[in-house]
Symmetry: C2
Subunit: 692 residues, 2 copies
Amino acid sequence: MRAYMNRLAARPHNVGSPYDKENAEWILGKLKEWGLDAHIEEFDVLFPTPKERVVELLEPSRFRAKLAEPPVPEDPTSSQTSEQLPTYNAYSADGDVTGRLVYVNHGVPDDYEQLDRLGISVKGAIVIARYGGSWRGIKPKVAAEHGALGCIIYSDPRDDGYAEGKTFPNGEWRPPMGVQRGSVADMPVYPGDPLTPGVGATKDAKRLTVAEAQTITKIPVLPISYADAKPLLAALDGPVAPEAWRGGLDLTYHLGAGPAKVHLVVKSNWDIKTLYDVLATIPGSQSPDEWVIRGNHHDAWVNGADDPISGTVAELEEARAFAELRKQGWQPKRTLIYAFWDGEEPGLLGSTEWVETHAADLTRHAVAYINSDSNGRGYLGAGGSHTLERLVNEVAHEINDPEKNISVWKRSQLARIGREQGEAAKEARTRKDLRIEALGSGSDFTPFLQHLGIASLDLGFFGEGGGGVYHSIYDDIYWYDHFSDKTHVYGRALSQTAGTTMMRLADADVLPFEFGDFADTVKRYAGEVKALWQTKHDEIEERNLQLEEGVFSATADPEKTFVPPAREALPPHLNFAPLDDAVDHLSRASEAYEKALSTHESTVPAGELNPLLIESERSLLDPHGLPKRPWFQHMIYAPGLYTGYGVKTLPGVREAIEQKEWSEAGEQIPRTAAAIEREAALLDQMTKVIER
Amino acid sequence: MRAYMNRLAARPHNVGSPYDKENAEWILGKLKEWGLDAHIEEFDVLFPTPKERVVELLEPSRFRAKLAEPPVPEDPTSSQTSEQLPTYNAYSADGDVTGRLVYVNHGVPDDYEQLDRLGISVKGAIVIARYGGSWRGIKPKVAAEHGALGCIIYSDPRDDGYAEGKTFPNGEWRPPMGVQRGSVADMPVYPGDPLTPGVGATKDAKRLTVAEAQTITKIPVLPISYADAKPLLAALDGPVAPEAWRGGLDLTYHLGAGPAKVHLVVKSNWDIKTLYDVLATIPGSQSPDEWVIRGNHHDAWVNGADDPISGTVAELEEARAFAELRKQGWQPKRTLIYAFWDGEEPGLLGSTEWVETHAADLTRHAVAYINSDSNGRGYLGAGGSHTLERLVNEVAHEINDPEKNISVWKRSQLARIGREQGEAAKEARTRKDLRIEALGSGSDFTPFLQHLGIASLDLGFFGEGGGGVYHSIYDDIYWYDHFSDKTHVYGRALSQTAGTTMMRLADADVLPFEFGDFADTVKRYAGEVKALWQTKHDEIEERNLQLEEGVFSATADPEKTFVPPAREALPPHLNFAPLDDAVDHLSRASEAYEKALSTHESTVPAGELNPLLIESERSLLDPHGLPKRPWFQHMIYAPGLYTGYGVKTLPGVREAIEQKEWSEAGEQIPRTAAAIEREAALLDQMTKVIER
């Protein structure tokens, strides 16, 4: 794996770069060398790269941001400056704007709510937000919704710089001039090529114009370092930022607006670039039409030793191991597909375009998709479809933790016991399966899971060691060799975990989906959205009461500006009965199915059952999709419209309540319930198949 | 009040300075000028002042701390350098020590617990602690208990410097070179002159030698600014400090030990200085032997416009008002004593020595003691004996808030409604009286309340505006005029609040003690100490289980040092029955008393009842005092042995449980219960007196 990394991360290999293509060809060569049937599939996508970038302070003094990451002498690849993409946010709108600066913390909706209370508007202003608190693409989107002209995003040293530890190259954390690149496309609306929503970006695809593309930001955005941010923040006056908003710079965090006046320019080359997805197939011996798919991307923002090569090499090693097994005579029952995606960084391009191109086949044949991305030291992180929660737990029992010589399952369990309190700690001690996370977005599982309803898992190790080189030129071999999984023992553990999962999915007689954990999880989600409604109700009721009592006027410091919140109408009660009924049905149906399966173990008609099991995740799709984003069709899992990578479960209902769209919430409850009912009905059908 | 402040804060007036004496004489002159019977009472106390102070970094580079606060051009009194006490901690032991530096956060016992887990010892080291988290005197005490050779305390900019807002003179917060002076005597053992515990420091008092004085620190201590602290902290290596320990400097907070090596020298002149307490008496017309006492100190660390002159001038104005009332023919029924204490800053010297000197008379005659200290803008802060909770609530209903034109009670109530959640918010809306704080220490109420059992209140306004000039040369008229209660309207509100309280205590037929609130409060405290035992029990049980399960070994990052905690024996069950019985008795007795009082309103024999009411706070004393500190005799309220100013209620029981001294806890429960039983029995007696 070290050898693979030394090759793949040797030079910058972003989308459109020569080394990106060379890497794809090298991976293809390796796969073929190992005897696998492999090919490259190309797509042509919009990929803007900067031609003009300016951040300058005009008032009260002048300062021009460097917008550049200096090479570090110890670190050989950091000096490959001619091949490095400049620091920028892909899919920022072009713009040349000037305005007073306002500090907006993370720039999420709650932050603007607080700014409103403090009497600060961003209308006509340029906002500066710190990274964190949401996926970066949310920041310019919400800023634009509030009337801002431009958006600067910076990495505060409190979050991943010197406050966390020594900075690179002395430590793993972000140095003063380090910048986090990244996409700001509105991926929660749809990921992939902004010009080809819903269809593959093949040579002859029908394309939108750039102006028509919905996912490009409305205002210009640039990411900057904390060295560049400091003079801007130091030039702000106005109210002092609330305590939780303050970062690690040695200055008073003021909110503005002004007197700092800033000039921001972003202009891009809006070029079409070619993606190189590499795919290898190991045909199934018994059920070749049932596909088990594995993927990790290979493109990076710069050298990307951590993101994504640490995961890419683990996947590559799995492919080699399966190739070896084949040479020894083993054949999977089902077909294995190993994918190495290009263009994940700008917006899950390679995976999304491939999934959109092959949607019909995938809907028919795909059993499951197993994803990975960056990999480090520590604990198995597993997220995904809860129908696979049992499977991934069973696999985790079999994998040895290289640091502790206990199973990675045991290590995770003990960590939860140590971390959790009360009921959650009790559950960590007693529940058969450790709960897995629901998936939002941020890696290539999204099109599989949330567009096509293919049961998915995302696997990786992390939790020990830190890092502040994410999406910078310093995420490279030197960094990985000094500060992460230096001996690649967790790379091996990832290969073992994902490889074992692939093998079980490929070879099980009855596909290893389990519905008890799923039903239990959905029931929790239903409880959460009901509690959320109650919380919103109680908050509004309490605030209205406080307005009536005069709490806000009595407690406002007359020496500071304070704007009391407006009175709000109480939310109407919602009819959660269809959701409760569906959840009950799902619980009963899953119990009956699991009971039937164990009672009739020896006579289960696997051949008849497996197609229904494959269909089970599809049942959770609604072909109309979610409100305002029909591309996202899964009714249980979605990235949040206002969190980005952060997941929203039962997203139709949950986001309507969060956004106080009461009539939409009323519509989404029966839609969501219907998806769950479909799943329950399918389970009933499967139980009958077994019992027949 | 502005005129008084302009006089009293015009020059530095610490204990032993010429201006301290001049101020006392000026106050005396004013009181006499107004026609009051006033005098100065002198005491002779140990008051060390520095003759040598060194903090220097020896390795890995050299740096010598400035240990000086520069004058600020805009601020005229900041340049009175020849009269300013150097920056130091009074009652630090003399010492000349060199050692590796260790950062210990606040330097409280929990911090050392965490250092133990990280494998870091302070044995033979010099610790650097930041201000906050406890009273400053706790830091060198706990450091010495852990084997440290010396202690440096610094003001982190996160806590009261630039992280909070603009720094002086542009704002109210601590500038880079600002230093917090202050006493580090072990006041939770006994306050007052370290050489005369328990007796007045009169000319002829029997004195301990300095070496015998228990309250002088065991190791040398110096306070420094954040400008001086930065090179020291920047020179540390070793583990990165836990997140909550990190301050606002632009560096990585490492723990050490080393490579920073520090040389610390503290040498003092151990002189005896004279205190000048100023006392004025307004004799009572009906019950001259019942004394209602009011106090605020007049000494400061430097100019002290805020601390204490903002409170001193409010008290002075009260005295003038009462003198005016007398001229108009009013006489209080009881005797009023207005005290202006000297030597509060070094250790409640003036009040403690006066109380110790007059202990027998005070025990016989004192009805109550009303204290104040610094005063600012915002909300009425009231702490004290819960037998006075009703009284102070009633007074607060009558005082107008100068900013909002509602009563200060209403403003406080609305603030609590806005701040609290759940039960506490509900209580803020519905309970007749707003709860008052229990008193720990930190001002002159301590000898009255906790040594002699005189019901006490501490009053002041704060909560709006901030401040980082505490105990520095910048706490002066310029600062107060720009950043605090500029127009002295809250000074007037304090005069009105304390003055009204004094008048009601002086003139009520039946003394306005109330026991329903007190019983309710004691019952809560009893619930808290029982819950505390359970929490300690559950924590130990859980930790032992985790040790058995292997949680600590499984989750320790092998690249970091981690020392698992030791297994501990489970605490024995404690017999809380005597406490529960006493609390029940108190509740019944207080109900009966209040009922009798209202039923027999017109026939209450006030003359017979009042002496018993005066005795009521005395009943709560145990003449043996608290474990390890017999001077503190109040069984309900005490400053914490390991928090300093922070209060411990039911301190005998609570601290024994906190420190896991189970057999001591077993002894303290019946002692505490006995005090509560005495109170209940006294109430029964009073009820009989009324009903007879």
